[in-house]
Symmetry: C2
Subunit: 234 residues, 2 copies
Amino acid sequence: MADRIALPPQLSQIPLFQGLPEPALTDILQHSQARRVEKDSFLFMQGDPADHLYVLMEGRAKLCQVTSEGQQVILKFAAPWEMIGGLAIVGGGIYPVCCMVAEDSRVMSWSTTVLEGLLQRYPLIAINATRWMSNHVKETQQLFTQLATERVEQRLAHTLLRLISQMGQEQAEGMALDITLTRQDLAEMSGTTLFTVSRILNQWEKQGLVEAGRERVRVKSPHGLVVIARDLKL
Amino acid sequence: MADRIALPPQLSQIPLFQGLPEPALTDILQHSQARRVEKDSFLFMQGDPADHLYVLMEGRAKLCQVTSEGQQVILKFAAPWEMIGGLAIVGGGIYPVCCMVAEDSRVMSWSTTVLEGLLQRYPLIAINATRWMSNHVKETQQLFTQLATERVEQRLAHTLLRLISQMGQEQAEGMALDITLTRQDLAEMSGTTLFTVSRILNQWEKQGLVEAGRERVRVKSPHGLVVIARDLKL
DNA sequence: TTTGTTCTTTGCGCTAGAGCAAATAGCGGT
DNA sequence: ACCGCTATTTGCTCTAGCGCAAAGAACAAA
Protein backbone atom coordinates (compact mmCIF):
# COMPACT_ATOMS: atom_id res chain seq x y z
CA MET A 1 0.00 0.00 0.00
CA ALA A 2 1.08 3.49 -0.76
CA ASP A 3 1.86 5.27 2.48
CA ARG A 4 2.73 8.82 3.44
CA ILE A 5 2.54 9.95 -0.12
CA ALA A 6 1.33 13.42 -0.91
CA LEU A 7 -2.17 13.47 -2.33
CA PRO A 8 -1.76 14.07 -6.04
CA PRO A 9 -4.18 16.79 -7.10
CA GLN A 10 -5.25 14.78 -10.13
CA LEU A 11 -6.77 12.09 -7.91
CA SER A 12 -9.84 14.24 -7.39
CA GLN A 13 -10.17 14.64 -11.14
CA ILE A 14 -10.47 10.94 -11.82
CA PRO A 15 -14.07 10.41 -12.90
CA LEU A 16 -14.60 7.73 -10.30
CA PHE A 17 -13.47 9.88 -7.38
CA GLN A 18 -14.90 13.25 -8.31
CA GLY A 19 -16.70 15.11 -5.60
CA LEU A 20 -15.22 13.12 -2.73
CA PRO A 21 -13.87 14.95 0.33
CA GLU A 22 -10.17 14.95 1.00
CA PRO A 23 -10.16 12.31 3.77
CA ALA A 24 -11.88 9.92 1.39
CA LEU A 25 -9.26 10.60 -1.26
CA THR A 26 -6.51 9.90 1.25
CA ASP A 27 -8.21 6.65 2.14
CA ILE A 28 -8.48 5.76 -1.52
CA LEU A 29 -4.85 6.63 -2.15
CA GLN A 30 -3.73 4.50 0.76
CA HIS A 31 -5.54 1.54 -0.67
CA SER A 32 -3.98 1.93 -4.07
CA GLN A 33 -1.00 0.20 -5.47
CA ALA A 34 1.44 1.95 -7.76
CA ARG A 35 3.94 0.48 -10.12
CA ARG A 36 5.94 1.10 -13.23
CA VAL A 37 5.13 -0.80 -16.37
CA GLU A 38 7.30 -0.91 -19.40
CA LYS A 39 6.44 -0.38 -23.01
CA ASP A 40 4.90 -3.32 -24.82
CA SER A 41 3.85 -5.10 -21.65
CA PHE A 42 0.22 -5.82 -20.91
CA LEU A 43 -1.78 -4.64 -17.93
CA PHE A 44 -4.23 -7.42 -18.68
CA MET A 45 -5.24 -9.66 -21.52
CA GLN A 46 -8.58 -10.14 -23.14
CA GLY A 47 -10.35 -12.92 -21.24
CA ASP A 48 -8.54 -12.39 -17.93
CA PRO A 49 -10.76 -12.07 -14.86
CA ALA A 50 -11.44 -8.36 -14.37
CA ASP A 51 -9.95 -7.93 -10.92
CA HIS A 52 -8.15 -4.59 -11.07
CA LEU A 53 -9.04 -1.05 -11.93
CA TYR A 54 -6.13 0.97 -13.26
CA VAL A 55 -5.40 4.65 -13.61
CA LEU A 56 -2.54 5.76 -15.77
CA MET A 57 -0.33 8.28 -13.99
CA GLU A 58 2.23 8.68 -16.70
CA GLY A 59 2.65 7.28 -20.19
CA ARG A 60 0.21 5.87 -22.68
CA ALA A 61 -1.75 2.67 -23.08
CA LYS A 62 -3.96 1.23 -25.76
CA LEU A 63 -7.06 -0.90 -25.44
CA CYS A 64 -7.37 -3.57 -28.11
CA GLN A 65 -9.72 -6.31 -29.00
CA VAL A 66 -8.57 -9.31 -30.99
CA THR A 67 -10.97 -11.41 -33.03
CA SER A 68 -10.96 -15.16 -33.22
CA GLU A 69 -9.34 -14.85 -36.64
CA GLY A 70 -6.53 -12.82 -35.11
CA GLN A 71 -7.44 -9.41 -36.46
CA GLN A 72 -6.85 -6.61 -34.02
CA VAL A 73 -8.89 -3.48 -33.38
CA ILE A 74 -7.81 -0.58 -31.19
CA LEU A 75 -10.75 0.79 -29.24
CA LYS A 76 -8.93 3.67 -27.66
CA PHE A 77 -5.70 5.15 -26.43
CA ALA A 78 -5.52 6.16 -22.80
CA ALA A 79 -3.72 9.26 -21.59
CA PRO A 80 -2.59 10.01 -18.02
CA TRP A 81 -5.33 10.12 -15.39
CA GLU A 82 -7.72 8.11 -17.47
CA MET A 83 -9.33 5.00 -16.03
CA ILE A 84 -8.61 1.62 -17.53
CA GLY A 85 -10.49 -1.56 -16.84
CA GLY A 86 -13.53 0.05 -15.24
CA LEU A 87 -15.22 -3.32 -15.52
CA ALA A 88 -13.35 -4.33 -12.37
CA ILE A 89 -15.58 -2.04 -10.32
CA VAL A 90 -18.28 -4.69 -10.47
CA GLY A 91 -16.80 -8.03 -9.60
CA GLY A 92 -17.05 -11.27 -11.46
CA GLY A 93 -16.48 -10.06 -15.00
CA ILE A 94 -13.93 -10.81 -17.64
CA TYR A 95 -12.00 -8.15 -19.53
CA PRO A 96 -13.40 -7.95 -23.05
CA VAL A 97 -10.27 -6.14 -24.24
CA CYS A 98 -6.58 -6.24 -23.55
CA CYS A 99 -4.53 -3.30 -22.45
CA MET A 100 -1.11 -2.82 -23.94
CA VAL A 101 1.27 -0.25 -22.53
CA ALA A 102 2.35 1.95 -25.42
CA GLU A 103 5.36 3.51 -23.71
CA ASP A 104 7.08 3.23 -20.33
CA SER A 105 4.41 4.26 -17.85
CA ARG A 106 3.33 4.40 -14.25
CA VAL A 107 -0.05 3.14 -13.13
CA MET A 108 -1.95 3.01 -9.91
CA SER A 109 -4.49 0.29 -9.32
CA TRP A 110 -7.14 -1.00 -6.98
CA SER A 111 -8.24 -4.60 -6.67
CA THR A 112 -11.90 -5.50 -6.91
CA THR A 113 -11.80 -6.48 -3.26
CA VAL A 114 -10.52 -3.09 -2.21
CA LEU A 115 -13.02 -1.38 -4.48
CA GLU A 116 -15.87 -3.23 -2.83
CA GLY A 117 -14.87 -1.71 0.48
CA LEU A 118 -14.52 1.76 -1.04
CA LEU A 119 -17.93 1.49 -2.68
CA GLN A 120 -19.38 0.58 0.70
CA ARG A 121 -17.77 3.54 2.42
CA TYR A 122 -18.33 6.12 -0.33
CA PRO A 123 -21.55 5.42 -2.22
CA LEU A 124 -20.85 8.39 -4.46
CA ILE A 125 -18.28 6.22 -6.20
CA ALA A 126 -21.04 4.01 -7.56
CA ILE A 127 -22.83 7.03 -8.99
CA ASN A 128 -19.61 8.26 -10.54
CA ALA A 129 -18.98 4.83 -11.97
CA THR A 130 -22.39 4.82 -13.60
CA ARG A 131 -21.81 8.25 -15.07
CA TRP A 132 -18.40 7.23 -16.41
CA MET A 133 -19.75 4.06 -17.91
CA SER A 134 -22.65 5.79 -19.55
CA ASN A 135 -20.24 8.19 -21.11
CA HIS A 136 -18.21 5.26 -22.32
CA VAL A 137 -21.29 3.71 -23.90
CA LYS A 138 -22.04 6.95 -25.67
CA GLU A 139 -18.54 7.20 -27.12
CA THR A 140 -18.53 3.62 -28.27
CA GLN A 141 -21.92 3.97 -29.92
CA GLN A 142 -20.69 7.01 -31.75
CA LEU A 143 -17.66 5.10 -33.00
CA PHE A 144 -19.95 2.36 -34.19
CA THR A 145 -22.21 4.73 -36.09
CA GLN A 146 -19.25 6.43 -37.70
CA LEU A 147 -17.78 3.13 -38.77
CA ALA A 148 -21.15 2.11 -40.20
CA THR A 149 -21.82 5.28 -42.15
CA GLU A 150 -18.62 7.12 -43.06
CA ARG A 151 -15.99 6.59 -45.72
CA VAL A 152 -12.48 5.65 -44.66
CA GLU A 153 -11.19 9.15 -45.22
CA GLN A 154 -13.75 10.60 -42.82
CA ARG A 155 -13.11 7.96 -40.22
CA LEU A 156 -9.36 8.52 -40.31
CA ALA A 157 -9.92 12.26 -39.93
CA HIS A 158 -12.17 11.58 -36.93
CA THR A 159 -9.57 9.29 -35.43
CA LEU A 160 -6.86 11.93 -35.68
CA LEU A 161 -9.14 14.65 -34.35
CA ARG A 162 -10.03 12.45 -31.41
CA LEU A 163 -6.37 11.79 -30.69
CA ILE A 164 -5.27 15.42 -30.83
CA SER A 165 -8.15 16.62 -28.69
CA GLN A 166 -7.34 13.91 -26.18
CA MET A 167 -3.59 14.27 -26.05
CA GLY A 168 -2.37 16.62 -28.71
CA GLN A 169 0.24 19.21 -27.88
CA GLU A 170 -0.38 22.74 -29.04
CA GLN A 171 2.38 23.91 -31.33
CA ALA A 172 3.30 26.91 -33.41
CA GLU A 173 1.64 25.27 -36.35
CA GLY A 174 -1.15 22.85 -35.45
CA MET A 175 -1.02 20.04 -32.92
CA ALA A 176 1.55 17.30 -32.37
CA LEU A 177 0.99 13.79 -31.09
CA ASP A 178 3.85 12.58 -28.96
CA ILE A 179 2.87 8.93 -29.14
CA THR A 180 4.45 6.34 -31.36
CA LEU A 181 1.65 5.72 -33.78
CA THR A 182 2.17 3.41 -36.72
CA ARG A 183 0.03 3.40 -39.86
CA GLN A 184 -1.16 0.03 -38.62
CA ASP A 185 -2.32 1.59 -35.35
CA LEU A 186 -4.29 4.25 -37.19
CA ALA A 187 -5.78 1.60 -39.44
CA GLU A 188 -6.88 -0.47 -36.45
CA MET A 189 -8.50 2.58 -34.92
CA SER A 190 -10.31 3.54 -38.11
CA GLY A 191 -11.37 0.18 -39.42
CA THR A 192 -9.15 0.06 -42.48
CA THR A 193 -5.71 -1.12 -43.64
CA LEU A 194 -2.29 0.40 -43.20
CA PHE A 195 -2.03 0.83 -46.97
CA THR A 196 -5.07 3.00 -47.19
CA VAL A 197 -3.93 5.02 -44.19
CA SER A 198 -0.56 5.57 -45.82
CA ARG A 199 -2.13 6.78 -49.05
CA ILE A 200 -4.56 9.15 -47.37
CA LEU A 201 -1.88 10.56 -45.10
CA ASN A 202 0.38 11.24 -48.08
CA GLN A 203 -2.41 12.98 -49.91
CA TRP A 204 -3.13 15.12 -46.85
CA GLU A 205 0.54 15.90 -46.50
CA LYS A 206 0.58 17.25 -50.06
CA GLN A 207 -2.40 19.41 -49.16
CA GLY A 208 -0.54 20.72 -46.12
CA LEU A 209 -3.01 19.28 -43.63
CA VAL A 210 -0.66 16.96 -41.77
CA GLU A 211 2.97 16.02 -41.45
CA ALA A 212 3.59 12.31 -41.26
CA GLY A 213 6.85 10.64 -40.31
CA ARG A 214 7.81 7.21 -39.17
CA GLU A 215 5.51 6.39 -36.24
CA ARG A 216 4.73 10.06 -35.91
CA VAL A 217 1.93 12.36 -37.05
CA ARG A 218 1.48 16.09 -36.67
CA VAL A 219 -1.81 17.71 -37.57
CA LYS A 220 -1.05 21.08 -39.12
CA SER A 221 -4.64 22.03 -39.81
CA PRO A 222 -7.20 20.54 -37.44
CA HIS A 223 -9.81 22.64 -39.17
CA GLY A 224 -9.00 21.05 -42.50
CA LEU A 225 -9.57 17.64 -40.95
CA VAL A 226 -12.90 18.74 -39.55
CA VAL A 227 -13.95 19.67 -43.07
CA ILE A 228 -13.02 16.21 -44.27
CA ALA A 229 -14.53 14.43 -41.27
CA ARG A 230 -17.87 16.16 -41.72
CA ASP A 231 -17.66 15.78 -45.48
CA LEU A 232 -18.34 19.48 -45.95
CA LYS A 233 -16.73 19.67 -49.35
CA LEU A 234 -15.51 17.24 -51.92
CA MET B 1 -48.15 7.01 -9.80
CA ALA B 2 -49.11 3.39 -10.05
CA ASP B 3 -51.06 2.44 -6.98
CA ARG B 4 -52.43 -0.83 -5.60
CA ILE B 5 -51.09 -2.74 -8.51
CA ALA B 6 -49.84 -6.25 -8.00
CA LEU B 7 -46.06 -6.47 -8.01
CA PRO B 8 -45.17 -7.92 -11.39
CA PRO B 9 -42.67 -10.71 -10.89
CA GLN B 10 -40.53 -9.42 -13.73
CA LEU B 11 -39.75 -6.26 -11.79
CA SER B 12 -37.17 -8.08 -9.74
CA GLN B 13 -35.56 -9.32 -12.94
CA ILE B 14 -34.87 -5.87 -14.29
CA PRO B 15 -31.10 -5.47 -14.11
CA LEU B 16 -31.39 -2.23 -12.20
CA PHE B 17 -33.56 -3.68 -9.45
CA GLN B 18 -32.06 -7.12 -9.01
CA GLY B 19 -31.40 -8.21 -5.48
CA LEU B 20 -33.71 -5.69 -3.85
CA PRO B 21 -36.12 -6.81 -1.12
CA GLU B 22 -39.82 -6.81 -1.82
CA PRO B 23 -40.67 -3.62 0.07
CA ALA B 24 -38.14 -1.77 -2.05
CA LEU B 25 -39.68 -3.14 -5.21
CA THR B 26 -43.10 -1.99 -4.06
CA ASP B 27 -41.69 1.44 -3.40
CA ILE B 28 -40.11 1.45 -6.84
CA LEU B 29 -43.32 0.32 -8.50
CA GLN B 30 -45.30 3.02 -6.75
CA HIS B 31 -42.96 5.64 -8.07
CA SER B 32 -43.27 4.41 -11.62
CA GLN B 33 -45.51 5.64 -14.33
CA ALA B 34 -47.07 3.32 -16.88
CA ARG B 35 -48.52 4.09 -20.23
CA ARG B 36 -49.31 2.71 -23.63
CA VAL B 37 -47.37 3.88 -26.62
CA GLU B 38 -48.33 3.18 -30.17
CA LYS B 39 -46.29 1.87 -33.02
CA ASP B 40 -44.07 4.40 -34.80
CA SER B 41 -44.14 6.89 -31.95
CA PHE B 42 -40.95 7.90 -30.16
CA LEU B 43 -40.16 7.52 -26.48
CA PHE B 44 -37.48 10.15 -26.93
CA MET B 45 -35.45 11.71 -29.68
CA GLN B 46 -31.73 11.93 -30.10
CA GLY B 47 -30.63 15.15 -28.39
CA ASP B 48 -33.50 15.33 -25.89
CA PRO B 49 -32.52 15.82 -22.25
CA ALA B 50 -32.22 12.35 -20.71
CA ASP B 51 -34.84 12.66 -17.99
CA HIS B 52 -36.63 9.31 -18.00
CA LEU B 53 -35.65 5.70 -17.66
CA TYR B 54 -38.00 3.30 -19.42
CA VAL B 55 -38.71 -0.37 -19.15
CA LEU B 56 -40.69 -2.06 -21.87
CA MET B 57 -43.50 -4.20 -20.44
CA GLU B 58 -44.96 -5.30 -23.72
CA GLY B 59 -44.08 -4.77 -27.35
CA ARG B 60 -40.83 -3.85 -29.08
CA ALA B 61 -38.72 -0.77 -29.49
CA LYS B 62 -35.66 0.11 -31.48
CA LEU B 63 -32.77 2.36 -30.59
CA CYS B 64 -31.43 4.36 -33.52
CA GLN B 65 -28.77 6.91 -34.13
CA VAL B 66 -29.02 9.32 -37.04
CA THR B 67 -25.97 10.97 -38.53
CA SER B 68 -25.75 14.58 -39.59
CA GLU B 69 -26.09 13.41 -43.20
CA GLY B 70 -29.34 11.68 -42.32
CA GLN B 71 -28.15 8.10 -42.41
CA GLN B 72 -29.70 5.92 -39.75
CA VAL B 73 -28.15 3.13 -37.73
CA ILE B 74 -30.05 0.75 -35.46
CA LEU B 75 -28.05 0.00 -32.35
CA LYS B 76 -30.45 -2.51 -30.89
CA PHE B 77 -33.95 -3.79 -30.57
CA ALA B 78 -35.45 -3.94 -27.11
CA ALA B 79 -37.69 -6.75 -25.93
CA PRO B 80 -40.04 -6.72 -22.91
CA TRP B 81 -38.38 -6.11 -19.53
CA GLU B 82 -35.34 -4.52 -21.04
CA MET B 83 -34.20 -1.11 -19.88
CA ILE B 84 -34.21 1.79 -22.28
CA GLY B 85 -32.54 5.13 -21.73
CA GLY B 86 -30.33 4.06 -18.84
CA LEU B 87 -28.49 7.32 -19.28
CA ALA B 88 -31.30 8.97 -17.30
CA ILE B 89 -30.03 7.30 -14.13
CA VAL B 90 -27.35 9.95 -13.93
CA GLY B 91 -28.90 13.35 -14.42
CA GLY B 92 -27.86 16.07 -16.78
CA GLY B 93 -27.20 14.05 -19.90
CA ILE B 94 -28.63 14.08 -23.37
CA TYR B 95 -29.89 10.97 -25.15
CA PRO B 96 -27.35 10.03 -27.81
CA VAL B 97 -29.96 7.88 -29.57
CA CYS B 98 -33.63 7.98 -30.26
CA CYS B 99 -36.08 5.29 -29.30
CA MET B 100 -38.77 4.33 -31.76
CA VAL B 101 -41.62 2.08 -30.73
CA ALA B 102 -41.70 -0.78 -33.23
CA GLU B 103 -45.18 -2.01 -32.38
CA ASP B 104 -47.98 -1.04 -29.99
CA SER B 105 -46.38 -1.36 -26.55
CA ARG B 106 -46.65 -0.62 -22.88
CA VAL B 107 -43.83 0.98 -20.94
CA MET B 108 -43.18 1.94 -17.38
CA SER B 109 -40.88 4.82 -16.59
CA TRP B 110 -39.16 6.72 -13.82
CA SER B 111 -38.08 10.32 -13.98
CA THR B 112 -34.52 11.29 -13.13
CA THR B 113 -35.85 13.11 -10.07
CA VAL B 114 -37.57 9.99 -8.80
CA LEU B 115 -34.52 7.90 -9.57
CA GLU B 116 -32.34 10.19 -7.50
CA GLY B 117 -34.51 9.42 -4.50
CA LEU B 118 -34.47 5.71 -5.19
CA LEU B 119 -30.67 5.73 -5.54
CA GLN B 120 -30.47 7.45 -2.18
CA ARG B 121 -32.71 4.91 -0.49
CA TYR B 122 -31.33 1.80 -2.19
CA PRO B 123 -27.62 2.17 -2.95
CA LEU B 124 -27.63 -1.26 -4.53
CA ILE B 125 -29.32 0.33 -7.51
CA ALA B 126 -26.17 2.29 -8.27
CA ILE B 127 -24.12 -0.89 -8.26
CA ASN B 128 -26.65 -2.58 -10.50
CA ALA B 129 -26.58 0.39 -12.84
CA THR B 130 -22.82 0.16 -13.11
CA ARG B 131 -23.01 -3.53 -13.85
CA TRP B 132 -25.67 -2.99 -16.49
CA MET B 133 -23.74 -0.19 -18.12
CA SER B 134 -20.51 -2.13 -18.19
CA ASN B 135 -22.34 -4.93 -19.90
CA HIS B 136 -23.68 -2.45 -22.39
CA VAL B 137 -20.18 -1.17 -23.10
CA LYS B 138 -19.00 -4.70 -23.68
CA GLU B 139 -21.77 -5.43 -26.17
CA THR B 140 -21.22 -2.21 -28.05
CA GLN B 141 -17.49 -2.79 -28.27
CA GLN B 142 -18.13 -6.22 -29.66
CA LEU B 143 -20.45 -4.77 -32.30
CA PHE B 144 -17.76 -2.29 -33.22
CA THR B 145 -15.10 -4.93 -33.59
CA GLN B 146 -17.36 -7.09 -35.70
CA LEU B 147 -18.21 -4.20 -37.96
CA ALA B 148 -14.53 -3.39 -38.31
CA THR B 149 -13.34 -6.89 -39.10
CA GLU B 150 -16.09 -9.04 -40.61
CA ARG B 151 -17.61 -9.24 -44.07
CA VAL B 152 -21.22 -8.23 -44.58
CA GLU B 153 -22.39 -11.81 -44.72
CA GLN B 154 -20.89 -12.56 -41.32
CA ARG B 155 -22.31 -9.41 -39.79
CA LEU B 156 -25.79 -10.14 -41.06
CA ALA B 157 -25.57 -13.65 -39.66
CA HIS B 158 -24.50 -12.21 -36.31
CA THR B 159 -27.37 -9.74 -36.40
CA LEU B 160 -29.92 -12.47 -36.97
CA LEU B 161 -28.39 -14.70 -34.32
CA ARG B 162 -28.49 -11.85 -31.86
CA LEU B 163 -32.14 -11.20 -32.65
CA ILE B 164 -33.28 -14.78 -32.32
CA SER B 165 -31.40 -15.35 -29.08
CA GLN B 166 -32.93 -12.16 -27.72
CA MET B 167 -36.49 -12.64 -28.85
CA GLY B 168 -36.80 -15.59 -31.15
CA GLN B 169 -39.65 -18.02 -30.71
CA GLU B 170 -38.83 -21.68 -30.72
CA GLN B 171 -40.66 -23.47 -33.52
CA ALA B 172 -40.90 -26.90 -35.03
CA GLU B 173 -38.23 -25.92 -37.48
CA GLY B 174 -35.86 -23.23 -36.28
CA MET B 175 -36.73 -19.94 -34.66
CA ALA B 176 -39.20 -17.25 -35.71
CA LEU B 177 -38.97 -13.53 -35.16
CA ASP B 178 -42.35 -11.97 -34.52
CA ILE B 179 -41.21 -8.44 -35.17
CA THR B 180 -41.77 -6.51 -38.35
CA LEU B 181 -38.27 -6.35 -39.69
CA THR B 182 -37.61 -4.82 -43.08
CA ARG B 183 -34.50 -5.44 -45.16
CA GLN B 184 -33.67 -1.85 -44.42
CA ASP B 185 -33.81 -2.55 -40.67
CA LEU B 186 -31.46 -5.47 -41.03
CA ALA B 187 -29.15 -3.36 -43.16
CA GLU B 188 -29.07 -0.60 -40.55
CA MET B 189 -28.22 -3.15 -37.87
CA SER B 190 -25.46 -4.75 -39.91
CA GLY B 191 -23.85 -1.73 -41.50
CA THR B 192 -24.82 -2.44 -45.08
CA THR B 193 -27.59 -1.70 -47.62
CA LEU B 194 -31.02 -3.21 -48.08
CA PHE B 195 -29.94 -4.52 -51.50
CA THR B 196 -27.11 -6.55 -50.11
CA VAL B 197 -29.33 -7.86 -47.31
CA SER B 198 -31.92 -8.93 -49.85
CA ARG B 199 -29.37 -10.77 -51.96
CA ILE B 200 -27.80 -12.58 -49.02
CA LEU B 201 -31.16 -13.54 -47.58
CA ASN B 202 -32.24 -15.00 -50.92
CA GLN B 203 -29.07 -16.98 -51.18
CA TRP B 204 -29.59 -18.32 -47.67
CA GLU B 205 -33.18 -19.16 -48.48
CA LYS B 206 -32.02 -21.30 -51.39
CA GLN B 207 -29.64 -23.07 -49.02
CA GLY B 208 -32.54 -23.68 -46.62
CA LEU B 209 -31.03 -21.62 -43.82
CA VAL B 210 -33.79 -19.03 -43.51
CA GLU B 211 -37.24 -18.20 -44.73
CA ALA B 212 -37.73 -14.57 -45.62
CA GLY B 213 -41.03 -12.86 -46.29
CA ARG B 214 -42.21 -9.31 -46.40
CA GLU B 215 -41.06 -7.73 -43.13
CA ARG B 216 -40.59 -11.20 -41.71
CA VAL B 217 -37.67 -13.56 -41.21
CA ARG B 218 -37.55 -17.08 -39.84
CA VAL B 219 -34.22 -18.73 -39.12
CA LYS B 220 -34.54 -22.38 -40.00
CA SER B 221 -30.98 -23.33 -39.15
CA PRO B 222 -29.36 -21.23 -36.43
CA HIS B 223 -26.41 -23.56 -36.58
CA GLY B 224 -25.93 -22.82 -40.26
CA LEU B 225 -25.79 -19.13 -39.45
CA VAL B 226 -23.21 -19.74 -36.74
CA VAL B 227 -21.03 -21.43 -39.32
CA ILE B 228 -21.31 -18.38 -41.55
CA ALA B 229 -20.90 -15.88 -38.73
CA ARG B 230 -17.69 -17.53 -37.55
CA ASP B 231 -16.50 -18.05 -41.11
CA LEU B 232 -15.88 -21.71 -40.42
CA LYS B 233 -16.18 -22.79 -44.01
CA LEU B 234 -16.17 -21.08 -47.34
C1' DT C 1 29.87 2.12 -41.02
C1' DT C 2 27.45 -1.81 -41.68
C1' DT C 3 23.67 -4.78 -40.97
C1' DG C 4 19.30 -6.10 -39.66
C1' DT C 5 14.76 -4.97 -38.43
C1' DT C 6 10.72 -2.63 -38.73
C1' DC C 7 7.86 0.68 -40.80
C1' DT C 8 6.30 2.95 -44.95
C1' DT C 9 5.40 3.80 -49.73
C1' DT C 10 3.63 2.76 -54.17
C1' DG C 11 2.08 0.23 -58.25
C1' DC C 12 -1.23 -3.05 -59.76
C1' DG C 13 -5.06 -6.05 -59.98
C1' DC C 14 -9.16 -7.30 -58.12
C1' DT C 15 -13.51 -7.84 -55.66
C1' DA C 16 -17.01 -7.00 -52.24
C1' DG C 17 -20.46 -4.47 -52.04
C1' DA C 18 -22.63 0.21 -52.97
C1' DG C 19 -25.94 2.61 -55.81
C1' DC C 20 -29.44 3.11 -59.29
C1' DA C 21 -33.46 1.87 -61.89
C1' DA C 22 -37.03 -0.86 -63.26
C1' DA C 23 -39.91 -4.68 -62.44
C1' DT C 24 -42.47 -7.37 -59.08
C1' DA C 25 -44.93 -8.80 -55.11
C1' DG C 26 -47.52 -8.35 -50.78
C1' DC C 27 -50.87 -6.13 -48.06
C1' DG C 28 -54.54 -2.97 -46.53
C1' DG C 29 -58.34 -0.32 -47.64
C1' DT C 30 -62.50 0.59 -50.44
C1' DA D 1 -61.71 -7.26 -57.28
C1' DC D 2 -59.27 -3.23 -57.67
C1' DC D 3 -56.17 0.44 -56.31
C1' DG D 4 -52.33 2.40 -54.12
C1' DC D 5 -48.62 2.12 -51.20
C1' DT D 6 -44.62 0.11 -49.59
C1' DA D 7 -41.32 -3.48 -49.48
C1' DT D 8 -38.60 -6.48 -52.19
C1' DT D 9 -36.07 -8.39 -55.97
C1' DT D 10 -32.78 -8.35 -59.53
C1' DG D 11 -29.81 -6.81 -63.28
C1' DC D 12 -26.25 -3.75 -64.24
C1' DT D 13 -22.55 -0.58 -63.47
C1' DC D 14 -19.06 1.30 -60.97
C1' DT D 15 -15.78 2.42 -57.39
C1' DA D 16 -13.74 2.58 -52.83
C1' DG D 17 -10.76 0.31 -50.81
C1' DC D 18 -8.48 -4.33 -49.98
C1' DG D 19 -4.47 -7.26 -50.59
C1' DC D 20 -0.14 -8.48 -52.45
C1' DA D 21 4.56 -7.69 -53.62
C1' DA D 22 8.51 -5.25 -54.12
C1' DA D 23 11.18 -1.34 -53.21
C1' DG D 24 12.56 2.26 -50.17
C1' DA D 25 13.43 4.72 -45.74
C1' DA D 26 14.29 5.26 -40.86
C1' DC D 27 16.16 3.71 -36.93
C1' DA D 28 18.92 0.70 -33.65
C1' DA D 29 22.46 -2.14 -32.53
C1' DA D 30 26.96 -3.87 -33.26
